[in-house]
């Protein structure tokens, strides 16, 4: 009796030989897996590209938006300095977003803001900046996310606003919370806010942000930043996973690839049985099966990474697109590492005798 088995290099060559022996099938599976890996990134890039175009359009119109927020603590700060920017030279519009409150809670007595519910039927998200003087707020952060709109969009307020379908997407928001948008155009602010947005004419932006900093000098923890067109979905694989839609895309991609590979390998039970009756140990037979699926998934992951990099360069929005490319690559690599053990299933499902009586289809 002996324990002889395949030389590792010959086993590796056998993996590639098997894949090369069925070029059409291998190519078809590879294409399917690449598509599955790339599809979520295509959607993300398309979305990012839309944002980029929107911001580009705004820039072309000469507007620059500054966000004031207390990022570290999330604590509130006075609205008054923010709202007072309305009507100043070089300012297109200024607005603020108040603290979330429960839907059932009534407005505090003496609150001089007009509280405009961000949900319901009286808001409209504008695709471009309103003309100066038009009542409107710039959306960003959580509110934009909950409304399902892009950061930098404009929320029109006023008597002639129309419904927004996305606002009714209950899955996107905490049903116990309703956000109140403080409309600076019609009232004098007297309460605290979480974020302030001031849109300047581009030529006035640099001086404007200095003025804003001076207005909030008493609040050193505040941050002042220009809005950049990237969503929280695309900053890292971890944050992408935290996003519900992105998470579903990842899971769907994994399932599709798994099903394809299971079908591929189920049709090869007979051949894997042949390896065993010619003396190949079960472990090496499993390595063969896993090696074939691993080769396909890693080739697909590499293809997805190359595609994502090319798409990122072509997209032109390097910051956002490269993050999407990173996500696509990370997703493909993760799935590529997780799925190949499925290659073991044909060995587990049937005994050798039955496997050998089947014919390869």
């Amino acid at each position: 009796m002996n324990d002889r088995c395949w030389h590792p290099r010959e086993l590796l060559r056998e993996v590639f030989a098997n894949l090369a022996a069925r070029p059409y099938r291998t190519t078809a599976v590879l294409v399917i897996v690449v598509c599955v890996f790339v599809a979520p990134a295509v959607a993300e890039l398309a979305s990012a590209h839309s944002t980029t175009r929107q911001l580009a359009a705004l820039t072309a119109r000469g507007y620059t938006t500054v966000e004031v927020a207390q990022i570290r603590t999330g604590q509130s700060f006075p609205a008054l300095p923010c709202v007072r920017f309305n009507g100043q030279l070089g300012v297109v519009a200024a607005g603020a977003i108040g603290t979330p409150v429960t839907t059932q809670t009534a407005s505090d007595p003496g609150n001089t803001f007009d509280e405009v519910p961000a949900y319901g039927d009286i808001t409209e998200v504008l695709s471009a900046s309103p003309e100066p003087g038009t009542p409107g707020l710039i959306l960003a952060g959580e509110l934009a996310s909950e409304l399902g709109v892009t950061t930098g969009s404009y929320l029109k307020t006023g008597p002639h606003a129309t419904p927004v379908a996305a606002v009714d997407d209950l899955a996107k928001r905490d049903p116990l919370l309703g956000r109140l948008v403080l409309d600076p155009q019609t009232a004098t602010p007297a309460t605290a806010i979480q974020a302030c947005f001031v849109q300047f004419h581009s030529g006035a932006a640099v001086q404007g942000i200095q003025t804003l900093q001076a207005a909030y000098a008493a609040y050193p923890a505040l941050t002042f930043s220009f809005l950049v067109p990237h969503s929280a979905n695309t900053t890292s694989p971890a944050s992408a996973w935290a996003n519900r839609q992105s998470r579903y895309a990842w899971i769907a991609a994994g399932l599709v690839v798994a099903v394809v590979l299971v079908i591929l390998l189920a049709r090869r039970r007979h051949e894997l049985g042949v390896y065993q009756i010619t003396g190949t140990p079960v472990v090496q037979t499993a390595l063969l099966a896993v090696g074939e699926t691993l080769t396909i998934t890693w080739a697909a992951a590499l293809s997805a990474a190359v595609w994502a990099a090319v798409a990122a360069v072509y997209n032109g929005d390097t910051f956002n697109a490269y993050h999407i490319a990173l996500n696509a690559t990370a997703r493909a690599a993760l799935l590529a590492a997780m799925i190949p053990p499925i290659g073991l299933t044909p060995l587990l499902r049937k005994n050798l005798t039955k496997a050998l009586r089947e014919r390869t289809s």
Binding site: R4, H7, E10, Y275, V282, N351
Partner: protein, 225 residues
């Protein structure tokens, strides 16, 4: 370890096997001994249990009762030892010509040596020698799927030859072949036995049994419906 030259290749004692208790045993209390250097036929009609007996002595299935000893070593004492015995001692020639259909005949035959740890050039050399013995040298580069039934069976015989396993089990190797192809396969099996291997053939082909050193009749269990 027992000396393989001094022991029987396979010894089956009181071997029985039951697939379904309601139907009863397919193989009942079989005793048989097979030596090295012999070509033995398990002879019987379809459904008599030849393939089952072959699977039992080839360690593809454990018998419901009884013992199987291979080259002096009792089988099924542990699953790991059984797997090692199965991998190291047995080569198979199956009725459906179990092979990698998309690979060449040469690749298929070279599998045996490769599975024993041989490098590609050595495995290829041994495979070409084996293909020459069964008269398939000119078809070495052809894909298995392109071979005729007879060529396929001879290819699997060549695989057994190249693998250098000491026991060759053939399950109805000529079941789907014409007389001429059957004779060629039987001759190839004879060659394996003459090289010192124990060759056991489950068959109901007279042309094959005529070339065997011994014929063991396998009758359907009379207790079965």
């Amino acid at each position: 370890m027992s000396d393989p030259e001094q022991v029987d290749a396979i010894k089956a004692e009181h071997v029985s096997h039951v697939y379904d208790r309601r139907i009863g045993p397919v193989i009942a209390d079989v005793d048989a001994t097979f030596g090295f250097g012999t070509l033995v036929a398990l002879w019987g009609p379809s459904g008599s249990g030849k393939s089952t007996l072959l699977s039992l002595i080839g360690l593809l299935m454990a018998p419901t009762s009884g013992t199987v000893t291979v080259a002096g070593q009792p089988a099924w004492t542990s699953s790991a030892d059984t797997r090692r015995l199965r991998a190291s001692m047995f080569a198979w020639v199956l009725q459906n010509s179990a092979c990698l259909e998309s690979r060449s005949a040469l690749d298929n035959v070279a599998m045996g040596p490769l599975a024993e740890g041989a490098r590609r050039h050595d495995a290829t050399r041994r495979a070409l020698q084996a293909l020459e013995v069964v008269g398939l040298t000119e078809r070495a580069a052809s894909k298995a799927v392109e071979l005729s039934g007879g060529e396929l069976q001879r290819m699997t015989v060549a695989r057994a030859l190249a693998a250098d396993k000491r026991i060759v089990l053939a399950d109805e190797p000529t079941g789907q072949l014409d007389a001429k192809s059957s004779a060629m396969v039987a001759d190839a099996l004879r060659t394996l036995a003459e090289a010192g291997r124990c060759v056991i053939v489950a068959t109901h082909d007279q042309a094959v049994s005529d070339r065997c050193d011994d014929v063991i009749p396998v009758a359907a269990n009379p207790t079965q419906p």
